[in-house]
């Protein structure tokens, strides 16, 4: 196959990023991960595989955890995104961040932002009654997290340093800190209706 001229369609999108309305123009090929890391200077989300296989890039989109490397930025017009940089509220660490520090739930730290965002999402999912592979009672309004549940729900986040034995108790510590503390995301600004692409571009 001969190299052909690469067409580079670009689109304007508006997202709410860590509570701030942000309008950006993106190359349609750009993943959310590369948008954050290369265009917006938010390098907390990590690239471990770029294929949805390691979880290092986990961020929260509309409060649910996603692999930022598998999400094309252009699809996120109107989304509310929280990254690791937006988890701590001012100087105050998020309970999951605190628990990771207290439990030494990391070594090199490269998987850590993804683990933490994933834990925030997992705690919320359990609270919302989402069952996992190991959940016994599929009809419970909320799933009570235990070691087995946390291990299962956190298995999308690989840690080659092998900190799992500390990550599981850290997630449980944070989950146990009360129904709100463990999961709530700081909102510095109310969620605004999202303007159309034209409005942003104009």
């Amino acid at each position: 196959m001969a190299a052909t001229r690469i067409e580079v369609p670009r689109s304007a999108i508006a997202i709410t990023l860590n509570g701030e309305r942000t309008a950006v123009e993106v190359d349609n090929r750009t993943s959310l991960l590369d948008l954050l890391r290369e265009q917006l200077g938010l390098t907390g989300a990590k690239k471990g595989c770029d294929h949805g296989q390691c979880g290092a890039c986990t961020v929260l989109v509309d409060s649910r955890r996603v692999n930022a490397c598998l999400t094309l930025a252009v699809t996120l017009d109107g989304a509310e995104i929280h990254t690791i940089e937006g988890l701590s509220d001012g100087g105050e660490l998020h309970p999951v961040q605190r628990a990771f520090l207290e439990r030494d739930a990391f070594q090199c730290g490269y998987c850590t932002p993804g683990q933490i965002c994933s834990a925030v999402g997992a705690i919320r999912e359990a609270k919302d009654g989402w069952p996992s592979h190991v959940t016994e009672d599929l009809s419970a309004a909320a799933v009570v997290l235990d070691d087995e549940e946390v291990r299962e729900r956190m298995s999308g986040n690989l840690c080659r340093c092998g900190a799992y034995a500390n990550i599981v108790p850290a997630v449980l510590d944070a989950a146990g800190e009360g129904s709100d503390d463990g999961t709530d995301l700081p909102r510095r600004e109310e969620f605004h209706p999202i303007p159309s692409v034209e409005e942003v571009a104009g």
Binding site: A2, A3, I6, C49, H51, C108, E152, R160, Y164, A165
Partner: protein
């Protein structure tokens, strides 16, 4: 109170949990940075005929394509892997053939994908075997051990033994796979090269890259503030570093370049596949009369890496007749390199599996067998151990694990669909130290500035160096500002061989003690402080000849699913005697992390060689499974207090690697106990068990 021994939290912890810690690809520069993308060969051996550079250069946003035709000349430094883009010859599949440089990451990636490369392919040979016709004996094995050792009459002793075993054990190619793929940011400033690199040692990177470009090491400035793991794969520069430097040179711009996860299996180094033929002979009491360990592994045609697979066997157990050999074959493959406990890790899987088989054959408890073969001095070096507490580790581990209740009969404990078993294995790793330098300054405001070119690849060395300095200066750790991972600091050794703490800490201790002495003269401290620099070359050279090793014992329970053959490890216990432990909190993380990696080696990890394509086929985390959270249940770690005055002044033996040594054997031994099936080829995947599993009842 001593700072050494305190469970201080990581200095950089908050940066790491808030996403503020910058890794090599993330140094936010005001100036524009170009993106480099590596193009890899799709043939195993042969020549590049042509590369369709012009078509790709015509694409918008592509700045340059570097191939062997326009790459700057690199000096031959003896490592063919680093001599990238110097000629059209291909030596393995996945070797770099070009770097595409573009304004954006997306464009670089797409342009690299459409770059046309035509080849003329040659014959290739990629399969290692212990019968390979081109096996040879290397001059030395990594890093400088004798290739072979022979004491006594092994064959005679084996023939006369009351109990003997003769089995081969194999371990597959394994990939280090640190979570941060190798990455380099490079920029030339006149004749000087600025690098931010994901490396385990910025001194060695500066030296080697300087030599490649024909400039002094001091003209290369390397920083590695945060490194997302390495496990040996970043212990020396890999092709990413010269590729980024070439790209920066040819464009005159700042360029950053990272491997994809897929590139890691060919361009980052890996653990060689190994085969170990083990022969053990024992008398009626279970005392070893002969130990023979013949090891086979592979290297590439570009660089000789000879893994010291049988080295640990030389120091473990007493036996009057002994032999170890290493044979190597140079194949058309990427060069295998260090992966966590190279040599000890695969070799001890073989020895400790063989010891378990011998124990079963002789009807002796595995711990008792090891106790009966405890040597008084190092059996091959013929010198005393600086300290050795394998027996203490086994005893404490047995107690924690509940070994005494064990029914030794295999396949005797079936519970519904589960066959349950337990196993143990010994661990060992050498305690080493390399010469290093450190600089410390006393400031007039009462604070201290410590500079030590350590690298923190997740070990916590930044924190531990501060603890060591605090004790040597007799101040609070908080009074010390520490700088690491910068080649402008005095030269220091790599974070490897479990030797970082000893090597760097020794230099830190010396510099701080000398500073204290000069402060005692009561002189007033000038505004820019009083600075002392120290190096430890003399101290390291003057070490008396002793056998310095850490020891440990690992215990594992397995449950084997009789329907599927899946192995689950509900609990692991590790007890280690590794000298003085500098920081229990960080040490525990190292041990559990290494045991977790050992669990992956035992059950999951295998580089699957495609002999037709000439490459490992499973290049990503979907196909190369490393332990995930659900694989790891209860891991319990302890260590024995060990005072050893024959080590560095801090008295530690190093703990980064010993935790992986023996873990796989303990799992394999437990599987044999649970099922009666001895798996001698890792990993223990269900297909190796399913046909022969005991019946459910």
């Amino acid at each position: 109170m001593s700072a050494i021994g305190a469970s201080l939290a990581r200095i950089e912890g908050i940066e790491k949990v808030t996403g503020a810690a910058d890794y090599a690809y993330e140094t936010t520069a005001e100036q524009e940075t170009l993106y480099g993308w590596v193009v890899q060969s799709s043939i195993v051996t042969g020549r590049i005929l042509d590369i369709g550079v012009d078509a790709v250069l015509a694409l918008p946003g592509v700045v340059e394509v570097v191939t062997w035709r326009n790459a700057p000349h690199l000096e031959d430094t003896g490592d063919g892997e680093l001599n990238v883009l110097q000629h059209a010859i291909i030596s393995y599949r996945g070797q770099p053939v070009a770097v595409v440089i573009a304004e954006t990451l997306e464009t670089a990636r797409e342009a690299a994908n459409v770059l046309e490369v035509s080849y003329s392919a040659g014959e290739s040979d990629v399969l290692m075997s212990p019968d390979h016709l081109r096996l040879y004996a290397p001059d030395k094995v990594n890093p400088a051990f004798e290739t072979d050792s022979v004491i006594g009459e092994v064959d005679v002793a084996l023939a006369d033994a009351v109990t003997s075993i003769d089995h081969s054990y194999s371990t597959p190619a394994l990939f280090n796979n640190p979570m941060e793929p190798h990455a380099t940011t490079a920029e030339w400033q006149g004749g000087r090269l600025e690098l931010v690199d994901s490396t385990q040692g910025s001194s060695v990177t500066a030296e080697q890259i300087g030599a490649l470009f024909g400039i002094p090491g001091e003209a290369v400035h390397v920083r590695a503030e945060h490194v997302g793991g390495g496990f040996g794969s970043k212990g020396s520069p890999r092709p990413n570093v010269p590729l980024a430097a070439i790209a920066a040179k040819i464009t005159g711009r700042r360029v950053k370049l990272a491997y994809t996860r897929q590139m890691m299996s060919s361009l980052a180094g890996y653990r060689t596949p190994t085969v170990s033929r083990m022969r053990l002979g024992a008398d009626a009491d279970g005392r070893l009369t002969a130990i023979s360990h013949e090891a086979f592994s592979q290297t590439s045609t570009l660089f000789e890496f000879a893994e010291q697979t049988a080295e640990a066997t030389r120091h473990m157990y007493a036996a009057p007749n002994r032999r170890t050999t290493h044979r190597l074959v140079a194949l058309d493959v990427p060069t295998p390199r260090w992966m966590r406990a190279p040599g000890e890790c695969p070799g001890m899987y073989a020895l400790e599996s063989a010891m378990d088989e011998l124990a079963a054959a002789a009807g002796i408890d595995p711990i008792e067998l090891r106790r009966r073969n405890e040597p008084e001095r190092d059996p091959e070096l013929d010198v005393p151990y600086s300290s050795r507490d394998l027996i203490g580790c086994m005893e404490r581990g047995a107690e924690l694990f509940g070994w005494a209740e064990r029914d030794p009969r295999p396949a005797a404990h079936i519970d519904g669909r589960w066959a349950i078993g337990t196993g143990m294995a010994a661990s060992t790793y050498p305690a080493m130290a390399q010469p290093s330098g450190a600089v410390v300054t006393a400031m007039p405001d009462g604070r201290y500035r410590l500079g030590i070119n350590a690298t923190d690849i997740g070990t916590g060395s930044r924190t531990v160096m501060r603890q060591i300095a605090a004790d040597a200066l007799d101040v609070e750790p908080e009074a010390i500002d520490i700088r690491i991972a910068d080649s402008n600091l005095p030269k220091a050794s790599v974070a490897g061989g479990s030797s970082g703490t000893a090597s760097w800490g020794w230099a830190v201790t010396k510099a701080c003690r000398e500073l204290r002495i000069s402060l005692q003269t009561g002189m007033t401290i000038p505004p820019d402080g009083i600075t002392v620099t120290a190096t430890t070359d003399a101290e390291i050279a003057a070490q008396e000849e002793l056998s310095r090793h850490a020891f440990g014992a690992q215990f594992v329970e397995v449950r084997v699913d009789l329907d599927s053959g899946e192995v689950v490890v509900p609990r692991m216990v590790g007890v280690f005697a590794a000298g003085r432990i500098m920081n229990p909190r960080l040490a525990r993380s190292q041990f559990i992390g290494a045991m977790t990696m050992g669990l992956g080696m035992a059950l999951h990890e295998v580089g699957e060689l495609d002999t037709v394509l000439g490459d490992y086929a499973n290049h990503d985390f979907a196909t190369y499974h490393i332990p995930a959270c659900a694989d790891v249940k209860d891991i319990r770690v302890e260590w024995l207090d060990e005072e050893d005055t024959h080590l560095s002044p801090m008295g530690g033996k190093g703990i980064g690697e010993i935790g992986i040594v023996g873990a796989a054997a303990a799992v394999a031994n437990a599987v044999a106990h649970a099922t009666g099936i001895r798996v001698r080829d890792l990993p223990i995947q269900p297909d190796k068990l399913i046909a022969d599993l005991p019946a459910r009842f």
